[in-house]
Symmetry: C2
Subunit: 368 residues, 2 copies
């Protein structure tokens, strides 16, 4: 790093869409969040109503007004790498355009999730006297391996800083509230046989044939849709990989299938494991990956008022997101942010100016 680099200054009084473009212009691919984290910290420290903490490249800023409720607004500072295809617009710096009568910002992170971070920063500046205490969390390393997550690190180092009654993660949801998330686990079922030359198959025992029953249970399984706090979570039980066999003339002595179970937040990890153990009774399940589900928390008063402020029917979240970390920590959480999640990580990542402004408006109305 050049020691003469001028620190980046962020003007939090800007229109949230303009602020989004300014944030995109500070490249922050995972592992390079430093300059952006510095700029965010510097800007927040100028706000006297906030108490600011830093941990690595994560920043926590809190009001301490003694309100009855505390809500937490969280977003990550990092992005996936810049596109490698020449001419891609989803890169750095940002590009402002007008398309079909709408203003749009192209650039890496516009959707995932500097639009959301811009909303957080604009709210941090504007809400000097909010109706609830607010904790703003900006974290690093969300786009890489789960155990590198800055949010996970904050939860381990300073859990007290993240205590809240309700959390909103400003991941892109196209402006709707997506509550909780399904849990996910992977496990392997291995069948054993006895190798033999395939010309004398009766001496052996075919491990692949024994997978017939495992696959039949999968094919016959009827995945359920489970309603939790008014949201419908669709479950799924699927083989994702299968393998077995040694050579063209050998009866295989081993075969395996890897299975993924996506389960609704009515179940703990343990209950989900019990369920698949029941489905595959008689087999040993080798669990390889276990992520709990998250309840939407829409039964909390803060959440209900939030949903009312947004004014749209909440939806269930199917994919696993950091809301599950909050849920595990006892804080119900939802996703709510500007931009289309399907554009995340694409070469033409973009967000509409008015989507960022609308997200800001909804949160400001709820918290003002």
């Amino acid at each position: 790093m050049d020691s003469t680099t001028t620190p980046i200054e962020l003007d939090l009084t800007m229109d949230p869409a303009d602020l989004t473009a300014a944030l995109v212009d500070v490249e922050s691919v995972s592992d390079h969040e430093g300059p952006l984290a510095d700029a965010v910290e510097t800007a927040l420290r100028q706000l006297p109503h906030l108490e600011v903490h830093r941990d690595g490249d994560s920043i926590v800023a809190r009001t301490n007004l003694g309100r009855d409720e505390r809500v937490l607004l969280a977003g990550h500072l990092d992005t996936v790498p810049l596109p490698t295809v020449e001419g891609s617009l989803g890169t750095v710096p940002s590009v402002r355009r007008r398309e079909s009568e709408r203003d749009v910002i192209y650039g890496r992170g516009t959707t995932d999730m500097k639009g959301g971070v811009a909303v957080q920063l604009a709210l941090a500046n504007a809400l000097t006297d909010p109706n609830r205490d607010i904790t703003f969390v900006f974290y690093d390393h969300e786009e890489v391996a789960s155990d590198a997550s800055g949010l996970g690190r904050l939860m381990r180092n300073s859990p007290e800083l993240l205590e809240a009654d309700f959390a909103v993660l400003l991941e892109p949801t196209n402006g709707t509230v997506e509550g909780g998330c399904n849990g996910t686990m992977r496990f392997r079922i291995t069948t054993a046989g006895k190798a033999a030359h395939s010309g004398r198959a009766w001496i052996g025992e075919n491990a692949i044939h024994k997978q017939a029953d495992v696959l039949a249970r999968l094919a016959a399984y009827e995945p359920r849709t489970i309603t939790v706090e008014g949201l419908d979570y669709r479950e799924g039980l699927n083989a994702i990989r299968v393998g077995g066999g040694v050579a063209g003339n050998v009866i295989p002595d081993s075969a395996w299938v890897d299975i993924n179970f996506r389960f609704a937040p009515d179940k703990t990890l343990q209950q989900a494991q019990d369920h698949v153990r029941e489905v595959f009774k008689g087999y040993e399940l080798d669990f390889q990956d276990l992520s709990p589900a998250a309840r939407p928390g829409l039964d909390r008063p803060a959440a209900a008022q939030f949903v009312a402020a947004v004014g749209q029917e909440p939806m269930p979240k199917y994919g696993w997101t950091d809301v599950a970390r909050f849920s595990e920590a006892g804080v119900p959480a939802v996703n709510f942010g500007p931009g289309d999640a399907l554009l995340a990580h694409t070469d033409d990542e973009h967000v509409f100016d008015d989507a960022v402004r609308e997200c800001y408006r909804a949160l400001a109305e709820w918290l003002a």
Copy 2:
């Protein structure tokens, strides 16, 4: 190759066990059959009752006595590579030992199949006036890819030289007659689905789950035992490899299973294909390898007399061998040779002296 290399001289009047050891001492791993083929050709050309032909490193020697029947005795000159484990006895040169009151020869090719070749050469020398015309075939490249086979080349180049009423392949059978062989084929059944993120499995279609029915048919299949000319051929239908899947979070859009069918010589290739098409009705079968079965030919008079001379109950051959090439060419063929086939290709390959002599005795009695 050193141009001063002394040509190797073989004394065909030797005891067949001693001749076996002498043949083993001329290393002839596939692709290096030249020196041994030269020695065999030179020795045979000294016998006035034989007409000798050479094609590459294959040699055909024939009597032309105008007998009613002609039998063919065939063996390959090449061996698999020498063992790499230090101290292995199944190498070059040969080692003679006495174990449990029996004389034994260790060395690469003792079993597969220089013991058989020694018997052929000793018979070629001794049978100056056989009761049937005899064609001796010594060929190269048996231990490598099927299309490199010297026997296949001879059949293409000079089919007239290989015409016979009955053929004996001196592959190791522990001195019993193994008749014909099962056919073998491989085919793939691919199931197609529709890829989707595993968090939204209902949008996709799981190709692995569709293999459940294919594997169930395999698991339920009852392989038959079919009697052909008095020999019982056990069939087999087996998955040998299975695969499918893209990533840990993707519903797989393709899965496949490779299946091996070993079928008795009551069926042509076409009939065998029709059978598996019937078993897997509704699926497309992608055939990858097709080798026909061979009938044992034990209904021919020459064969019946041969079996009587050997004095043992003939057995079916399960593995695919070059007898199938003869069968395809219209010449019924059996395997009959000294040594245990299970020792072939092992690091301690060996053959008992008396097994070589007994094989010689049986053939000499039949043909003298």
